[in-house]
Every structure is written in C-alpha cells, then in structure tokens.
C-alpha cells in the first residue's frame, strides 16, 4: 500500500492546510531558535544579576537605607520581567506552532468551504506571528503612552492577537463539530489513521515514552517537592529581609546563597519537566506529519534519529545543570540545535511535498 501524502488527504494549497502546516513549523522553529539563543546569552547572566540585586537590597537594609533597598528590589523586578517575558515568548511561539500544525491535520474534517478555511488560516497565522514578538517587547515598551495604569501597548497587542487566535480556534472547533456530527458530516470523507511509516511508529513510541516520563516526573515534583520549595524559599526571603537589620550579615549571606541555589534547583527541575513533555508532544505531532515529508526514506529516518537524540539529551542536560554547570548548559544548547536542525529538515521535506503536489497539477 502506498503511504504517500495523497493517502492522507494530500497537501493542496488554497484551503489553509498547507499554510497552517508550513506556518506552524516555522513558528516552532522560531520558538526553538529563540529559546536556544535566550538560554545561551540571557538566562545565566540574568540569574546572576537577579541575585546581585537581592544582595544589594540586603546590604541597603543593613545600612538602614530604606530607599536604596526598595530601589534594588525594583531593579530585581525589572530583571524578573525581562526573563519572564522571554520565556513566555519562547513558549507561546512553540505552542501556537503546535496548534497550527494540529489545525492543519484537522482541516479535512472541518466542514467549512475552502475559502473560509484559508481565511481562518490567514488570521490565525497573522495573530500567531504578532503574539510572541509582542510578549517579547513588553519589557522594553513598558507603560509608555499607555492609557492604563498596569498594562502597556505591547501587552495589549499580545492580548488582541490572543483574542483573534481564540476566535479562529472557536470557528475551527465549530467546523469540526459540524463535520463530525452535524448535517454536513456527509461532506467529510477523509479518514484519520496513524501513518504506517516506520518513522511515524518510532516517533509515536518515543513521544509516548517521553510523555509518560514527563507526567510521572511532574506528579512527583508537584506532590512532594513544590510545597517544600515554596516554604524554603519564603523562609530564606524572611531571613534575607530581617537578618541584615539584626546585624547577622553572615547569616544573611548564607540565606542569599541558599536562595540562589534553591532558585537554580527549582528552575532546572521545572525546565526539565517542561522540555520532556514539549518534546513528547513534538514527537507525537511529527509522527502524523511524516507522510508529508517528501524526502527519501533513509533521510527521513536519519532526521528522526537526530530529533530523538536531541530530545533525549536536552532534558537530561538541563536537569544536571546544577551539578555540571555551564558544561551541561552547553550540551543542552547543542541538543536543542539538533532538534532545530531535524525540524528544519522536515520543514524542507514538507515544502518539497508542496512543490511536488503543485508540479503534478494537484488541486489548488
């Protein structure tokens, strides 16, 4: 039996499927690339500056300078916002990319006309391209010229694009329900099966294992560690705030060191959990994409191996960053690059499939 893209509905242009698939992969790649650059150039220096600000605040408390203490905390707040918005931009680009590719795979079941589906895809992709850069800009734009006391223009752009994405997804859900259960269901002739390609099976197996590992890890973390971390963190902050004024500067420094270690430990554990699950999701998603990757089977298999290796190494390296420091960080960045290269190769295959479809005089 032939398991080319045609078996799974093909990749015609003009009905939103191809645009969502290519746009989604580009969003995933942009999110990953940004995450790698962020990890190399911003994450570690920023963490050191955050602890530096807290140290300055504790020093100001020791010398009885309330204004300087509050000022140091304001600086720390800015650094935390800088880190938070970059993590958010990275995560939102990835998740929107996943959603775009999922919507592409669902298009044969959405009972709207080709034109409507293309129109929805354009709106989705336009909003998805605006949202992550807007989140990124929140730290830099701040509240400049904003009519609101708490929310700046960059946040408003991100929220508006989020609203568009919600409306488009709602329209896709309505089309899907109409296609599956409503009076238009007779129009939907596509079937949904797992591609019978070895690469798809490998990705499905690997993705499921990663998700199981990520779920169990997350459950252990949430059940046994989260509350302990939070209690320890608050205790250390109490000590950092009160010890300098009591003249216990050595104890305050020890509390600061422990607080920094705690932040690192907690951050790396959460990042490991998040990356295990992200790569599990990515592997499942790419399992269904393989029929549209128009490459020779041996090359499809090679890129799947590169992706699986990178996706295995990265969370392990992130989890061991507290023990092996920057070496583990470097390994994690290289593993991230392996995943990026593999997904880029698959995108190249999808583009080739589009060209093959058009050259063969396919619909659209």
């Amino acid at each position: 039996m032939n398991h080319s893209a045609q078996t799974y509905g093909g990749l015609p242009g003009g009905d939103g499927r191809r645009a969502l698939m290519v746009g989604g992969l580009l969003l995933i790649l942009a999110g990953m690339l940004f995450g790698d650059v962020f990890a190399v150039f911003i994450l570690h220096p920023n963490a050191a500056r955050i602890i530096g600000s807290l140290t300055a605040a504790a020093g100001a408390v020791a010398s009885g300078d309330a204004d300087a203490a509050a000022g140091a905390i304001a600086v720390m707040g800015g650094l935390l916002e800088n880190r938070g918005t970059k993590v958010d931009a990275h995560v939102h680009a990835l998740v929107l990319g996943y959603l775009a590719v999922i919507l592409a795979l669902l298009q044969p079941f959405v009972a709207w006309s080709r034109e409507t589906r293309m129109w929805l895809a354009r709106w989705f992709l336009a909003a998805a391209c605006i949202m992550p850069p807007s989140i990124f800009a929140i730290h830099y734009v701040g509240l400049a010229y904003s009519p609101f006391p708490d929310i700046g223009w960059a946040s408003l752009f991100a929220d508006a694009s989020g609203l568009v994405i919600i409306l488009v997804t709602l329209a896709e859900l309505a089309g899907l329900l109409a296609g599956l259960t409503g009076p238009r269901r007779a129009q939907v002739t596509a079937t949904l099966t797992l591609p019978r390609l070895p690469e798809s099976r490998t990705l499905l197996f690997f993705g499921t294992l990663m998700l199981l590992a990520g779920f169990v890890y997350g459950m252990i973390h949430a059940g046994f560690l989260t509350q302990e971390y939070e209690a320890r963190e608050l205790k250390r902050i109490e000590e950092i705030v009160t010890f300098p004024a009591r003249g216990k500067e050595d104890a305050a420094r020890a509390a600061l060191t422990d607080y920094a270690m705690l932040q690192g430990e907690r951050g790396t554990r959460i990042a490991a959990h998040a990356h295990i699950n992200e790569f599990g999701l990515l592997a499942l998603l790419l399992a269904f994409l393989q029929p549209y990757v128009f490459l020779r089977p041996c090359w499809r298999r090679r890129w799947v191996k590169v992706l699986v290796a990178g996706a295995l190494i990265l969370p392990l390296a992130v989890a061991s960053e507290m023990r092996f420091g920057l070496v583990a960080g470097g390994v994690a960045d290289l593993a991230g690059l392996m995943v990026i290269v593999a997904v880029s190769a698959m995108l190249f295959g999808v583009l080739r499939e589009s060209g093959r479809h058009d050259a063969a005089g396919g619909e659209g």
């Binding site: 999922i102 797992l194 099976r201 779920f215 499942l284």
Partner: protein, 165 residues
C-alpha cells in the same frame, strides 16, 4: 472516526480554548496587578526592615508569598490546560490504531478529559482557600491523567511495535 477519537479531538480543542481564554482574561485583569503587588510587597518588606520595623516587614514578606503562591498556580492552570488540550487531540489522532473496543476507548477518552480539566482547575483553586475540593480535583485529575496515558499507551503498543511498510 471512533467516538473516543471524536471526544478526544473535540474535547482537546475545547480545553485548549479554555486555556487560551483563561490566559487572556488573566493577562488583562489579574497578571500585571499581581506582579505589581508582588514587587511592591517585597520592596515594602525591605524598606520596613531598613527602618527597623521587623514585624511589619515579615507581614509584607507573607503578603509577597501569598501573591507568588497565587501567580504560580494561575500560570500553571493556563499553561496546563493549553498543553493538555493539544495532547488530547494528538491522542485522539492515534486512537484509530488502538486495540481497545469502541466503548472502552470512549471511556478512556472521558477519563483523560476529566483529568486534563480537573488537574489544572484544582491547582488554580488552591489559593482561593477551597481546601479539600481543590486537593480532590488536583489529585484525582493527576491520577486520571497518568493512569489514562498509561492505558492509552498500552492500547497502542501493537501499533508502535509494527514494522510499518
């Protein structure tokens, strides 16, 4: 398409929408205010400690802890609803190959849907002093998710082990 697949795909998309809608509401009405309050309470704690008012400084640290507790859980609910929704859709895609009968697959889909909805909801309710209710939701939700995923993987084992063509 099997009923279990339909439930997972439509339910997953609905859950993703819930996650996005909660995220939008949260970003507009709560997030910036909570982050501002967190920063202000920590700055106030430092200022009060510098002025020698330790009792008031500790109260400000407690307020910071409460804001942080709420913030972490709200962000958790937003991100988990969104990601679990996407996961359910993908599990629905693969459901055609499952070894389970149609009724068993539909029951498994309901179990996963309950888990994916209840776990983030329980975590989100923790700061609202919902006590037992929040714990029941989050623990039962997490258990349903993990059990459901293991059962789903077991049902799919023959398909992943196939040699393909």
């Amino acid at each position: 398409m099997k009923r279990g697949q339909q439930l997972l795909i439509a339910g997953g998309l609905a859950l993703t929408l819930l996650g996005m809608s909660f995220g939008l509401w949260y970003a507009l009405y709560d997030e910036h205010q909570t982050l501002g309050a967190m920063g202000a309470s920590l700055a106030s704690a430092m200022g009060l400690a510098a002025e020698g008012d330790e009792a008031a400084a500790l109260k400000a640290v407690e307020a910071f802890g409460n804001y942080r507790f709420e913030y972490v859980r709200d962000v958790h609910a937003h991100s988990h609803w969104g990601s679990l929704g996407l996961l359910l859709i993908l599990l629905g895609f693969a459901g055609a190959e499952s070894r389970y009968r149609e009724s068993a697959l539909a029951a498994l889909a309901l179990l996963l849907l309950y888990g994916a909805f209840a776990f983030p909801l329980g975590v989100m309710l923790q700061p609202l002093q919902a006590g037992v209710m929040a714990r029941v939701l989050s623990i039962s939700g997490a258990l349903c998710l993990v059990t459901g995923l293991f059962a789903w993987a077991w049902g799919l084992l023959p398909a992943t082990g196939g040699r393909g063509e």
